[in-house]
Point group: C2
Chain length 403, copies 2
């Protein structure tokens, strides 16, 4: 039960009931399609007359379409309803430190096109180029209409103004991406942090059969980000800085983190932490401590390849990374007890090796396992990008804001 926020509430008007039931039916169609009007009435508890009226609206707006007629042992044939996934397209933009991916998806979250461009350090220039690329992409993939643009960034987004407030990896700070992009494209823009986007992707794309209301996404790259969905909705904190569990110190007197602390989860279990650890490992071997050349040559992808080839040093490094990953994950599970925890990032490619170690640590660490399923994100499917689509999708499929 939520407390009503008296500085930001929404009264009910005569159209509120319709809005609520409309969204419920749209979700039921999405989940159970193909489904008849009578089926919807059974599933929802609404009267068939009400369902028919709402269905008529949804069909008129092309959200759903009538499909084949079904077949029953008795009685009149039902006409099935489907979600009209081609009603409109959604643009997803995943801004990374070096390159930015732009994609077109349909309402069923399937991608129709995908291309990438350099990010660059000049923010104004980037926004201009991005706007042009998006317009070109829309022209190349005519979809009838476009619902909006979802954007994710590796940084923090201020929750009310939707401004980017903190993105050390991009070299920008205090930037308004939303307004110029909306002006350039004429579409509504939704901005979100990358880890949060991953959490949304898992929430909305049907990998989990039953509905999960509590889900945590851990993104592992050169940073560690955490996106939390609790009570079925994203937790942003009042200022948008929630989820910085990557900067919780897990051990005393650990390595120095760039946040100023020592022993942060991020400085122990991120990709760059693994690379640093590996470099030191082999440098020590070769007696060239601090050698810049050795440290610069290995990327995290290389390390994973070395593990596949059976390099003992690389395996040792990865196992240690997995151990530290487990420590942080154990913290999240004991504290938040989600139904599902997904690990996103290149490590998920080596989950056959990493997974058991993480699970072992978590089992030893968290008293009440809380039944959390720990899953690697599908490495083939772009989690962040799917999240940007979900970001736009939830405006239509999410629960309406009332009271």
């Amino acid at each position: 039960m939520r407390k009503i926020d008296l500085s930001h509430f929404q009264v009910a008007t005569s159209g509120t009931a319709r809005d609520i039931n409309r969204r419920i039916l749209l979700n039921l169609v999405r989940r159970h399609q193909p489904i008849s009007r009578a089926g919807l009435a059974r599933q929802s508890g609404l009267q068939r007359s009400t369902v028919s009226a709402i269905a008529e609206q949804l069909i008129a707006e092309h959200w759903v379409v009538e499909g084949a007629t079904g077949h029953l042992p008795r009685g009149r044939k039902p006409t099935f309803l489907h979600l009209n996934s081609d009603r409109a397209g959604i643009i997803g933009v995943d801004i990374g430190p070096v390159s930015t991916v732009i994609a077109v998806a349909s309402l069923d979250m399937e991608f129709a096109a995908q291309e990438s461009m350099a990010t660059g350090s000049d923010a104004a220039d980037f926004i201009a180029r991005l706007g042009r690329r998006i317009k070109d992409l829309m022209r190349a993939h005519p979809k009838g209409s476009y619902e909006g643009i979802g954007v994710c960034v590796p940084g923090r987004v201020e929750v009310s103004s939707q401004r980017l407030t903190f993105a050390p990896n991009l070299g920008w700070k205090e930037l308004d991406l939303k307004t110029p992009l909306e002006r350039a494209t004429g579409l509504p823009v939704e901005l979100e942090n990358a880890a949060n986007a991953c959490a949304l992707a898992e929430l909305w794309s049907g990998r989990h059969p039953e509905d999960v209301g509590n889900l945590v996404a851990v993104t592992v790259s050169d940073e560690i980000g955490v996106g939390m969905i609790l009570n079925g909705q994203l937790v942003r904190g009042s200022t948008g800085v929630a989820g910085e569990f990557g900067h919780v110190a897990l051990i005393n007197d650990g390595p120095q983190c760039r946040c100023g602390n020592r022993g942060c989860w991020e400085v122990l279990a991120s990709n760059s932490a693994a690379v640093r650890c590996y470099s030191q490992n082999i440098s020590v071997r070769k007696g060239e401590v601090g050698s810049k050349s050795a440290m610069a040559t290995v990327a995290f992808g290389d390390l994973l390849r070395l593990v596949e080839q059976g390099s003992p040093k690389a395996c040792e490094t990865l196992d240690q990374m997995a151990h530290y990953l487990g420590l942080g994950i154990a913290m999240l599970i004991t504290g938040l007890a989600p139904d599902v925890l997904v690990v996103v990032g290149e490590v998920s490619r080596a989950w056959k090796r990493v997974g058991p170690i993480v699970l072992d640590v978590v089992n030893r660490r968290s008293r009440t396992r809380a039944g959390t399923r720990i899953l690697p994100s599908d490495p083939e499917s772009p989690a962040r990008l799917r999240g940007t689509i979900a970001l736009v999708l939830q405006k239509h499929l999410g629960a309406p804001f009332v009271a």
Copy 2:
């Protein structure tokens, strides 16, 4: 924006709009009383006619009463509306390991009576005694009617069945308190974990001028519990086991915790941790390591008294406890970025000493302070008990569940 849970949703009926607006108006009366109907219309954005209709209902049900008429420079005198705090009473029950407190409160969360009884280890006997005491208390304080009973326990409550599933301190396990108590008293019973109750207490009792939507309560006793309110609502996790941050390991190779881990926050910063530390401290002094007699004599309250008297050993112990408290609080602030974090428990009595240490640790630890205010709970006002009242109150004042 919340995702609609298709296995547990609520369609809108013709009465839904009224329910929503009614709750909003009731909250506005609570916040801004005394307030006229026209004032409510301005605050809510509803039409005066709608406000009048709803006000008529609320007055008929004695939720609000008409009070004095106001005075304006021009125009008709407004008739002020007040919350009728004596409409009904609420019973609050705070079950502790040794004693249980029962109280009667009015709708404005003011206590009219308060008494305590022994808890005991026989659960069935306890429930029977509790039921009798509540009925006696209601007879002694006739309130017209009673809205319900709020109960908090130092343990975990399964979220759907409202059964007590885990309460090591009480010696009970897997117990249904709700059903027998409802049968005995004829009132609806709401059961909740103690830390969650404290969080609710802070959320609903007007210590915070603006509405806070993100709030964390840390209860420090012989255990450490965390109650989280994010996006304006309690986070229980799907099984009701969220908030066990007390069992996150903050240092490597710390003392053994009874949960099986080492170095848990709870084993470092709880009252019993401080007592253990102090006992070891003075035992070492006196050369009687492990002496049971020395360890048994000191309670945490005694330790606080010794601090007040300026005992160096006691001060040292408390400072260390404060340091570890700060470590855990820093974790919560970096991860959850709440607006407010309240510390509940006997330590809050020594906040003048503890507070600065906690603040210092948090400032050094959390990169983005997120503007979280860290407050001690008022030691005089029973936080857990206030929470049990809030538990019942929110059924009427909380946002309705739709979609």
